[in-house]
Symmetry: C2
Subunit: 106 residues, 2 copies
Amino acid sequence: MAPHDMLFRSLADPTRRAIFERLCRDGEQTVGALTLEAGVSQPAVSKHLGVLKEAGLVRDRHEGRQTHYSAQIGALAPLVDWTSQMAGFWQNRFDRLEDLLRRMDQ
Amino acid sequence: MAPHDMLFRSLADPTRRAIFERLCRDGEQTVGALTLEAGVSQPAVSKHLGVLKEAGLVRDRHEGRQTHYSAQIGALAPLVDWTSQMAGFWQNRFDRLEDLLRRMDQ
DNA sequence: AAAATCAATAACCAGGCAGTTATGAATTAT
DNA sequence: ATAATTCATAACTGCCTGGTTATTGATTTT
């Protein structure tokens, strides 16, 4: 399984992505705080956090009976890489086409 | 539904993402050509192409009885924007923290 | 004209996944 | 000690989605 596979899968769900966005925007949050704005039950939030953690997108920190989660922005790197790679392929093909046209023009 | 929602959803499936990658790498391809390497049936490929098209990630061009598909690299822009935005949030929080520490240090 | 090819659609099926409620384990408050 | 809080897990459910085969429409080929 490609490294960005988990990444895309994790971010595909709107609820889950919203949780991650919240963590990016507002920094470390407890499960309870996240649940308040998630629009789904606490177990659902916990499950989403589990998926995000599995994908390396979040870290958890236990403190007493509450768990604090925070975004790991670095985990988005493979996504950036993938996008650049696709753009690179595109550009290469464009360059080759340009080259071909230049040759034909002569 | 956010503009990047479709995007993430479309790219989440490995088979579908592979088809898109192929189009980026090798340029315009017919459904038949894509089917040869997809590892799934032709109808499955057609369905994936439908989803990609819906998300604006591919264009189709009919020529006789065959349909040629090509990647629309520009459609990845919202994804890049989203990533930058997340990184931006992160950076802002970091800056505020840095600022706070500087004040405390005095 | 008849046969073959290409791709889209229809109809169906199985598995996965996001959601729920109920419960348990650990910690904190009374 | 007891009660309350916080989160994770278990068990279940319904739907969505990715896959299949069968078929049709459209175009080429023979």
